[in-house]
């Protein structure tokens, strides 16, 4: 952003919005919007509360396990689709539908199938993120330069060597991009899942706070989730940067 030739760092716009929030919050216009400073001071209290820590740990476990299955499953499916035409024609359509479908509507069905517990949350996380990882991996595998595969074959690479030493590395930038997008979807999934279930972990806290009009706590919890989502995607973004130097040089 630039105003009258002066370069304004992007953080500045965030500060303006925070300032606005503070002003509106202090004007006491709406009880659902307490001042930003109040939210932050609540956040420091909330973040060390044992019930929050227990809920956050449970949420994180569900998130990590769900992502583990999404990444291994998504990368595997993407490789199968990218290397096998038959598999692609069978799976391709479904993966595309599921990647763009509003999966939130499936949550009630999953609750019926798997109960109101951690398992359902894990499945929701995996379901939300696996398809985009599959699609990106598939794109990366297809993208692999033909001459690199010919090179591998001409130097006697086995099928497994072709995949592990050439195709995987060539597809890695796309796989990481898929994982980053998958993480963001997984955060959505976990929030939606826990809110709809509203009996486990952070979902229950959200429900309690909003039911009891504890909006300072509610916003503090929201901020924490935002920061975590941002943190995860930044971490994968850093990994992506490490392979960026060759992602652009591929033809």
């Amino acid at each position: 952003m630039e105003i009258k030739g002066i370069n304004i760092p992007p953080v500045f716009s965030l500060l303006i919005w925070i300032g606005l929030w503070e002003v509106v919050g202090r004007m006491d216009l709406a009880f659902i919007l307490p001042p930003f400073t109040a939210v932050i001071s609540e956040l420091t209290v909330l973040i060390v509360r044992p019930d929050f820590l227990a809920a956050a740990w449970m949420t994180f476990k569900a998130f990590a396990i769900g992502m583990f299955f999404a990444i291994t499953g998504g990368v595997f499916l993407g490789f199968v689709m990218g290397t096998n035409k038959t598999a692609n024609s069978i799976l391709g359509m479904w993966v595309n539908i599921l990647a763009s479908a509003p999966l939130s509507s499936l949550v009630p069905v999953l609750m019926l199938l798997f109960g109101l517990g951690q398992l359902t949350v894990i499945i929701i996380v995996a379901l939300f993120s696996i398809w985009i990882i599959t699609l990106d991996t598939y794109a990366g595998v297809l993208h692999t330069q033909n001459s690199l595969k010919e090179m591998g074959r001409s130097f006697g690479a086995s099928k497994w060597q072709l995949i592990s030493k050439i195709v995987f590395w060539s597809a890695l930038p796309e796989i990481l991009a898929g994982i980053r997008l998958g993480l963001i979807r997984a955060v959505k999934g976990i929030v939606i899942g826990q809110l709809l279930l509203s009996v486990v972990a952070l979902g229950r806290m959200f429900r309690t706070f909003s039911d009891n009009f504890q909006f300072t706590e509610f916003w503090a919890l929201t901020l924490i989730l935002f920061v975590f989502a941002l943190l995860f995607s930044t971490l994968v973004g850093l990994l992506e940067k490490r392979v960026e130097y060759y992602a652009g040089t591929r033809t």
């Binding site: 330069q145 001459s147 690199l148 010919e150 090179m151 591998g152 074959r153 001409s154 130097f155 006697g156 690479a157 060597q161 030493k165 050439i166 590395w169 890695l172 392979v243 130097y245 060759y246 040089t249 591929r250 033809t251």
Partner: protein
């Protein structure tokens, strides 16, 4: 002085002779799908220790023929023999140099050069020692830890050449290796290649569309006609290789051979 010598074309019945011809191509025909007829009944011998160029206008199937010899493509009919044995796929006695270099962008020069050895399971120390010696031979000493995107086109192809030499194959298959290299570097590279090959004692199958390049580097030039590719003629430019590169490029035989080939190819372009 000798003139360029024309060889009689082989007939189909000529048996493969592994002693003087390390690669023999017999009756190779290639269709892509049902309607693209790339090669028609190619019979060729590639003398051991010599450089043979496949030359012709684009679409004459020269790269197709090279990839069939490499075992990367299957012929529709006919057979290729390497050292008297029929080719069924890629093999350790042949190494390929790619037009677009085909380097691993995520690997250093050393790992790229050692990659053929890595695939055969050679120990890391051993293959990197071999890689370093060939990096040195192709004139890239000091660039061992660089990545391909940090090198110029000419340097990248030197990596590709070093990788092919490192596996110690008898036959080098080079697919338009200099077409993505700029003109000045190409000349230097051609001279270096000839010097290197005179030491390494390899048989080279070289695909190019540059007439000057073909005449400059080849012992034997196979001129192919356009689709379907057939052998138009085989020419052996009898150049005095002891002359300096600049003298060779001014040599009357060199210039006459270039003219003669151009006369033949021009027909196909009109």
């Amino acid at each position: 002085m000798n003139q360029a010598v024309h060889l009689p074309l082989l007939d189909e019945a000529t048996p493969a002779d592994p002693t003087s011809n390390i690669v023999a191509v017999r009756g190779i025909t290639k269709y892509y799908g049902t309607d693209v007829h790339a090669l028609e009944n190619i019979n060729l011998d590639f003398p051991t220790g010599q450089m043979t160029t496949l030359l012709g206008p684009s679409g004459c199937g020269k790269t197709t023929l090279l990839k069939i010899v490499a075992g990367l493509l299957e012929a529709t009919s006919g057979e290729v023999f390497v050292k008297g044995k029929p080719v069924t796929g890629p093999g350790p006695e042949r190494a390929f140099v790619f037009q677009d270099f085909a380097l691993l962008p995520w690997a250093t020069v050393t790992r790229n050069v050692a990659f053929g050895l890595e695939l055969t399971g050679a120990p890391k120390k051993e293959r990197e020692d071999i890689a370093r010696s060939f990096i040195d031979k192709v004139g890239l000493a000091g660039f061992e830890e660089k990545y391909p995107h940090e090198l110029s086109g000419g340097m990248r192809q030197r990596v590709g050449l070093a990788r092919a030499l490192a596996v110690d194959a008898d036959v080098l298959l080079m697919d338009e290796p200099f077409s993505a290299v700029d003109e000045q570097n190409r000349r230097k590279f051609q001279e270096d290649l000839l010097r290197l090959l005179s030491v390494e004692n390899k048989t080279v199958l070289f695909v190019t569309h540059s007439i000057e390049e073909a005449v400059y580097v080849s012992d034997q030039i196979v001129l192919l006609s356009p689709r379907p590719g057939r052998i138009h003629s085989i020419i052996r430019p009898e150049l005095d290789r002891s002359e300096s590169p600049d003298d060779i490029r001014r040599d009357k035989i060199y210039l006459d051979t270039v003219e003669e080939i151009w006369g033949n190819i021009r027909k196909y372009l009109e």
